[in-house]
Every structure is written in structure tokens, then in C-alpha cells.
Amino acid sequence: MLEVQLSGSLRDAAGGAASIHINAATIRELFRKIVEQHPRMQASLDEGVAVSINGEIYRDDWAQMIPEGAEIFLLPRIPGG
């Protein structure tokens, strides 16, 4: 079971929770199960979310494997200049 840490507006979408617990092996599975548990987070995912897996930030590769016990943070998708 992964503890998925939330911050910023993502906490609001999860009803104020600082973290949620989800069993997922890939980013795609993680996103699917997040929406199943917290339908309001669909809007945040549509706007763009990045996933930090053990400190590495993934924005686009949803096939990325998530190791068991990994540190997971959901972050807003970041624009650049």
C-alpha cells in the first residue's frame, strides 16, 4: 500500500487530506484508483499532475513503475519560462 502525499490544491480536492493510501504498481493505476476513491480529483488530473517517485518527478510517463514502499508525492504540473 502506497502513502500518496498531497499538497497545494490537490489536498482540497481530496477533502483536505494530507495523504491518501492506494495500492498501485504504475502511475496509470495510481491515477485510476485515485479518481475511484476521490472523484473530485479528476479535475486536478485533467489540469495536469506530476508524480514524484522517490524524489524523481514524472509528468508524462504513466507506464512508470512504482516500487513497493516508494515515497510518492502528487504535485501540480509545473509550467516553465
Binding site: G8, N54, E56, I57, Q64, I78, G80, G81
Partner: protein, 759 residues
């Protein structure tokens, strides 16, 4: 599927050298073609009518007289740009920013557009369009916009992350951090708390927005445009105009600067809509005044910082509240300020709260490491104040508290290998720090952070029959990337740099490429180029095997040629890339390599800067005496252009710190939309900016590359703030530190001192 991008400690022959850039000659001779440098047969001239009001209801737009003017071929308003966004509020905001829909939301907001046979006719037509406005109350200050009774900029907006469901100018409240800041402050021996303001600035790119649009009655179109990302422009314009993506070909021109400002569409959907209506090509070029009033500058900000530390210099808690304006449309700029604010430090107790706030100003766009410089100004100023209060050297204080591998970042994740510590050590040991200062001179330093990212990338590499190589990339070259990418291709293929020609391909020639933003150009297209070249090498080995009539498993590639392995093949002479290219028509046809990938794992970036400033106490005028940039590049592919990025970012930061400022009148109109009154630094304002490149390899790139384009705009506001404060003995808390503002600070401090003496 992206091949394994892990860093491999590859030894280089070409990477790290400094050959001439391939686009240099065209640029210095004027042959390079920018956004406005192209024309088409039958071309019309486009022009846009803009709101003279900060906030107004559009009662009526009467175009009848303009339509009758000879030479006018098309006039459009929002009625010609129907909402095709299917409930996507973000896309509707983009459309509404391109053309007002019922309300003008800022001074300069487009309300109508004309296409005519020449510029004079287009200008006259604009004068004949009669717009009936009803002026509405406006707000342009970020703090005033947060008040309960402030005029609402977008009545549909509710505060995300807030506890009220009422309409508000506060778009979102975003909180980041960990630990218990109040408990941390209770443990502190010294606490410094201070508020700061920064004014709105523009990226100041020299080339205004410009495009040539052509849409036919068959629904096919072309767009030539100055942009940081033609694929994204294509997708956005096609969606807004109801076009099919494959039928809109977008070609990026050379770009005369963007720095984030050319990541958004402004005039392009308007030009396409005009062309579609007129059935003629339309060229649309912004004036400088238009660029200032109606493209995307950065936020003005209001920031509160509180940091506590023990007497030994260890920070016990840090908190920042950051209020950023988004312009007239929701953004995430305050959130980004909150994410970046304390990222340089290893903190047990930290909290940053970002507010995104709507005001009646143009939509904010990214500006090089967007939102980070303003946050760094407040935080790095307080860090300096805290070090001074404790009696500790400002660099040592930062080194003691610097984040490192394993530190939990203030925005959440745990860092891998990072460069903040090494940049601070390099600053501490730099001769600049030991140079003597004169009267009225001060030295300051500061550090900064930016995320960097990778994204979708697609690259082709085609080998001609003479052995020269065309590298087609989809990321716009904003700072010398074609030279760097050519070096990478040549390195992988084992051929001279001069044998490679890198081009930025149009949108019909490659798969999707994300913008050149987030310092991703060389990181992501560099990765794709490596994989495309390796893909081509595999084909070269196949061709060699066919030539020799041996199994390809006996062929190896090194130094630009194929050799056959093993004693049984020792009579076979090596075949060079040129040999194989020449023979290619009879060994299987053209030889090419290809790569499409998602380049994740860009790795974060840090920089530390040193600055010496002299202040004239009579006038408040400043002179930058010496400036040094230290930044981690991961691996500098072409050091000239890495240094150029460091210097350019520092120069923009210096202008931001000392002079640049959007000035709005009480009527909500921009008072200084031009380079005469909006003062960016010119060469004579700046010293040579020294650079020191650190190379701490990024483990997630085959060559160890980190993005370098943005981070060095983060420290200058604070480094200069600290230098000016040290020079005059008064803490500066408002950017830009223009002469009147410095003089005012000096006089106020003197008056306060006099009052204390008298009392």
C-alpha cells in the same frame, strides 16, 4: 518507449567543446527570418483594436463604417470566435484573452480585429469601429484585489483551497511544507519577520509577437510564427478554431527572445480567424506598446517571510505567505512561488502559502523560472538579515542550512543528488568574495532554485548519400540548442560537428514536441538525439553487415566507422559513415534514425550569485560593479551557450531588481508601455558577468545534462537587494530598487535615526 536514460559516465570527444553556432552567420548578417520576416502572395495586414479601459462592459461594437472602407477585407469580434471549448474553462480563458467576450478585463484587451490591404487602411478601419463601453470598477493591486469589497474580475471564480463559496478574486490558496512551524519558532533564539513587494515586469524580448496566417476554404491552414512551441500553438489554435490538427501546419520562425512569454497564444488565433474570413493570408505583428499592454508579463507580488534560527546558525522554522497576481485570468503563479520559496534549504519545520489573485491587468505568463525570483527576494533577504543578527557569515549560514541529497524538499519530495551545497562552496571560495570594496559599495549574494522538466519529444536524424547528417528536432532553439544538439549527434555517430546540420522542423514533419520551456530544450531533445543517433548506428551496422555479407552481430561501431569483429573478418577494411551513406541506395535505401520519447527525470537546478553594487547616496543611482554566477549544469554540452544562459538570466534579473516596473495609473491604464519608460538594462549598464559552471551529473540523462536556462534569474533580485542594503546600511524591501526608491529608503532611515537621537 524511451530507452534507458540513465547516466553512464560516457567519455566525450566533442561534447564540452565550443564550436561556432550554425545559426550565427544568418543572425549577424540579417538573413535569419524572424516572425515578421515572411510574406505571402495576396497578403493582408492585420490590426487589433484594444480596450482603453481597465474594466468595462462592452455594450455594442459597431463595425459598419469600417466594413465599408475600401481595402478592408475582414473584421472580426468575439462573435467570429465561437466557444468550441466544450466546457474546458482553461481553453475558454485563452480564447477570451485573445478577444474580449462581453467585458474588457484590462487596458489593452483585444475587442475587435481588422484585415486590410495595407497598414494605413487597417489603422483607419480600427478608428472607424465604434465600441460602446460601460466602465466598471477596477483593481490592479494584488493586496487591494484580495479585499472583500474589491471589484470582481471574474465573477465565476471561487477560491480553491479556501473555505468560502463566494465569488472572489482569490483563485486559489496553496499550502506546502512539513513539520510544525510554531514549535520550530518556539525553539529559535532569533526570529526575523519582514514583508516585501516586487513590481510587475515583462520578459522584454526584443522581437514582438508576429505571425503570418493562411487558412483556405478547404479547412487547411498554415501559420508562420515566432513561438517557443509550434506544436503546442498548433494544437491550441486548431482547438480554438475548430480545425483538424493535421490540417494546420505551423512553422516556427527564428525567435528573438521569449523567456516564457512566447509559450502562450496571443494574436495567432485572431490572425487565423481573420485569414479564414478574408480567404487571404494575414500578417499580424504586435507593436511594442501592444506587447507591453496585451502579452503576458510576470506577477507583481506581496510577500511576508518569517524565519527563526538558533544562535549556532541552524534554522528551526521558516514560513512565507506569498500573494501573486495572475492578471485577469486564473493561473498558478502564487502556487509556484510557494513551491520554490524554501527549496534551497534543509528545514524540519517549513510552511509556504501561495495566493493566486485576479486583477485587471494582462494575463500573466511564465517568465524564466516563473515566480521563483520574487519568492527568493524575500527569503534570501531575511536569510541575510538572520545571519547578520546571529553574527555569522551569510555564506556559511546558507551552507549550514543547505539542502542536500536525502533532504525533504519544502515542496514535498526527497532530493536526489543536487548542487546547492557545491554552488555555495564555490561562492565561498571565489576570489570575488575576497575583493576589496570601496566607499558606498556593498556586496550581496543569494541562491536560487528551479525545477526543470523534460516532456514529449520527437527527433529524426537523416543521413545523406554524401555522409552529411540532417538532424530534425521539434524544440525551438532559443539559446544555441542547434549547436549543442549537433555536437551530441556528432559525438554519437563519431563524425565531425561540421558534418551535422540541425533544423527545427515544422509540425507536419515530426511527432508532437512540447514547448521549449522549463529549461527542457537541450535536456529533452538532447536525449532524443542520442537515441535517434543510436538508432541510426544500428542501421549503419546492418548496412555494413550486408556489404560484407556477414552477420550483423559481428559488426561494431566506433569513431564513425563500422569494423568487423573477430580474426575471421580481419581482412575486411572498416567502413566509415560516409562509405555506408554513399552505398546506401543499394544496401536498403536511406539511412535514418528516429526517437520519440517522454523525457522525464530532468532533475532540479540550483545557482548561487555574488554581486557588488555602488550606490550614489545623493541620487540613489546604482552601478553594478561586478557580478558572478555559479550554477550546476549537470554536463555543459556547449559551454559557450551554457555561460550565455547564465549571463542572460542574470542580466534580466539585474534589470528586474534595479529598474523594470509596470506603472499603472489610478485609471487602471498602463503608463509606460515602451522601452523609453520601461527601462531594461543595456550593455553599458552591465559589467561582464563572470560564470562558473559546476557539473554534477543528472543521473536521469545519458550525458548527465540538467536544464540551465532559467535558474540564474532567481538569485539576482535578492543578491542585489543584499548588496544595496549592505552599501547603504538600510534594508531594501521593494523591487525594483530604482533610484527614487533607494533615496527614499536612505532618507527615511536618516530621519528615523535623527528621531532616535533627538528622543
Amino acid at each position: 518507449m524511451t530507452p534507458d536514460p540513465k547516466y553512464t559516465k560516457q567519455k566525450f570527444k566533442l561534447v564540452g567543446t565550443r564550436p561556432l553556432r550554425p545559426d550565427g552567420l544568418d543572425k549577424v548578417t540579417g538573413r535569419a527570418r524572424y516572425g515578421a520576416d515572411i510574406s505571402a502572395p495576396g497578403q493582408l495586414v492585420g490590426a487589433i483594436l484594444r480596450s482603453p479601459h481597465a474594466h468595462a462592459k462592452i455594450i455594442k461594437i459597431d463595425t459598419s463604417k469600417a466594413e465599408k472602407l475600401k481595402g478592408v477585407k475582414a473584421i472580426i469580434t468575439s462573435a467570429d470566435l465561437p466557444d468550441l471549448t466544450n466546457g474546458d474553462r482553461g481553453m475558454l480563458d485563452i480564447l477570451e484573452n485573445c478577444m474580449a467576450r462581453g467585458r474588457a478585463l484590462y487596458d489593452g484587451h483585444a475587442v475587435a480585429a481588422v484585415a486590410a490591404i495595407d497598414a494605413a487602411t487597417a489603422k483607419k478601419a480600427l478608428q472607424l469601429i465604434k465600441v460602446q463601453y460601460k466602465k466598471l470598477p477596477h483593481v490592479t493591486d494584488v493586496d487591494e484585489a484580495m479585499a472583500d469589497d474589491a471589484p470582481l474580475v471574474q465573477p465565476h471564480v471561487r477560491t480553491r483551497g479556501g473555505d468560502s463559496d463566494k465569488p472572489s478574486n482569490i483563485v486559489s490558496i496553496s499550502t506546502f511544507g512539513h513539520g510544525d512551524v510554531e514549535a520550530g519558532f518556539a525553539k529559535a533564539d532569533v526570529i526575523i519577520e519582514k514583508s516585501f513587494k516586487t513590481e510587475q515586469t515583462h520578459q522584454g524580448y526584443i522581437e514582438p509577437h508576429a505571425c503570418l496566417a493562411s487558412v483556405g476554404p478547404d479547412g487547411q491552414g498554415e501559420l508562420w510564427v515566432t513561438t517557443q512551441g509550434h506544436f503546442v500553438f498548433r494544437n491550441t489554435c486548431a482547438a480554438l478554431l475548430g480545425m483538424e490538427i493535421a490540417k494546420l501546419k505551423v512553422t516556427s520562425s527564428e525567435i528573438g527572445g521569449g523567456f516564457g512569454g512566447k509559450t502562450h497564444v496571443w494574436i495567432e488565433p485572431v490572425a487565423l480567424a481573420l485569414s479564414r474570413k478574408a480567404n487571404r493570408p494575414v500578417k499580424l505583428v504586435m507593436s511594442r506598446e501592444d506587447v507591453f499592454r496585451a502579452s503576458g508579463p510576470t506577477s507583481s507580488t506581496s510577500v511576508d517571510v518569517k524565519i527563526g534560527a538558533k544562535k549556532n546558525g541552524k534554522i528551526t522554522a521558516a514560513k512565507a505567505t506569498l500573494r501573486y497576481h495572475d492578471g485577469a485570468f486564473p493561473g498558478i503563479w502564487g502556487m509556484l512561488g510557494a513551491m520554490t520559496s524554501f527549496a534551497c534549504y534543509n528545514l524540519e519545520n517549513v510552511q509556504s502559502i501561495g495566493y493566486d489573485v485576479l486583477v485587471n491587468r494582462p494575463k500573466v505568463a511564465a517568465y524564466r523560472a516563473p515566480s521563483a525570483p520574487m519568492a527568493a527576494f524575500g527569503i534570501e533577504s531575511v536569510v541575510d538579515m538572520l545571519a547578520a543578527e546571529i553574527g555569522m557569515d551569510a555564506v556559511d549560514f546558507r551552507i549550514k542550512n543547505a539542502a542536500k541529497k536525502g533532504t525533504r524538499a519544502s515542496y514535498g519530495p526527497t532530493y536526489g543528488p543536487i548542487g546547492i551545497g557545491p554552488t555555495l562552496e564555490a561562492v565561498k571560495n571565489h576570489p570575488h568574495m575576497r575583493a576589496k570594496l570601496g566607499k558606498n559599495q556593498g556586496r550581496g549574494m543569494a541562491c536560487g532554485f528551479w525545477f526543470n522538466f523534460g516532456g514529449q519529444t520527437c527527433t529524426d536524424l537523416n543521413i545523406g548519400v554524401d555522409g552529411t547528417v540532417n538532424l530534425a528536432v521539434g524544440t525551438v532553439d532559443v539559446g544555441g540548442a542547434r549547436a549543442s544538439l549537433s555536437l551530441i549527434a556528432a559525438e554519437e555517430l563519431g563524425i565531425p560537428y561540421e558534418q551535422v546540420k540541425c533544423n527545427v522542423a515544422d509540425t507536419t514533419s515530426l511527432g508532437h514536441n512540447d514547448m521549449t520551456e522549463g529549461s527542457r530544450g537541450t535536456f529533452s531533445s538532447g536525449m532524443a538525439t542520442i537515441f535517434a543517433a543510436r538508432n541510426a548506428v544500428e542501421e549503419l551496422k546492418v548496412r555494413a553487415a550486408r556489404t560484407w555479407e556477414i552477420d550483423v552481430k559481428h559488426v561494431e561501431w566506433a569513431d564513425g566507422q563500422a569494423t568487423a569483429k573477430g580474426v575471421m573478418h580481419s581482412n575486411l577494411s572498416p567502413l566509415t559513415l560516409t562509405d555506408l551513406a554513399k552505398a546506401s541506395p543499394n544496401t536498403g535505401g536511406p539511412i535514418a534514425g528516429h526517437s520519440e520519447s517522454v523525457a522525464d527525470g530532468a532533475g532540479v537546478s540550483f545557482a548561487s550569485h555574488i554581486c557588488d553594487i555602488e550606490v550614489d547616496p545623493e541620487t540613489g543611482a546604482t552601478k553594478v560593479l561586478r557580478y558572478t554566477v555559479v550554477q550546476d549544469a549537470g554536463m555543459a554540452i556547449h559551454p559557450d551557450y551554457v555561460e550565455g544562459q547564465f549571463q542572460g538570466a542574470a542580466a534580466q534579473g539585474i534589470g528586474w531588481a534595479l529598474n523594470e516596473e509596470y506603472v499603472y495609473g489610478a485609471d487602471g491604464r498602463l503608463q509606460n508601455p515602451g522601452f523609453l519608460d520601461y527601462r531594461i538594462p543595456v550593455c553599458s549598464d552591465l559589467p561582464f558577468i563572470d560564470t562558473e559552471i559546476l557539473e554534477i551529473p543528472n543521473p536521469n540523462h545519458p550525458y548527465g545534462i540538467r536544464g540551465v536556462g532559467e535558474t540564474s534569474i532567481v538569485p539576482p533580485l535578492a543578491a542585489i537587494g543584499n548588496a544595496v542594503s549592505n552599501a547603504i546600511g538600510v534594508r531594501m524591501d521593494h523591487v525594483p530598487m530604482s533610484p527614487p526608491r533607494i533615496l527614499k529608503a536612505i532618507k527615511e532611515a536618516a530621519a528615523a535615526e535623527q528621531e532616535v537621537s533627538a528622543g
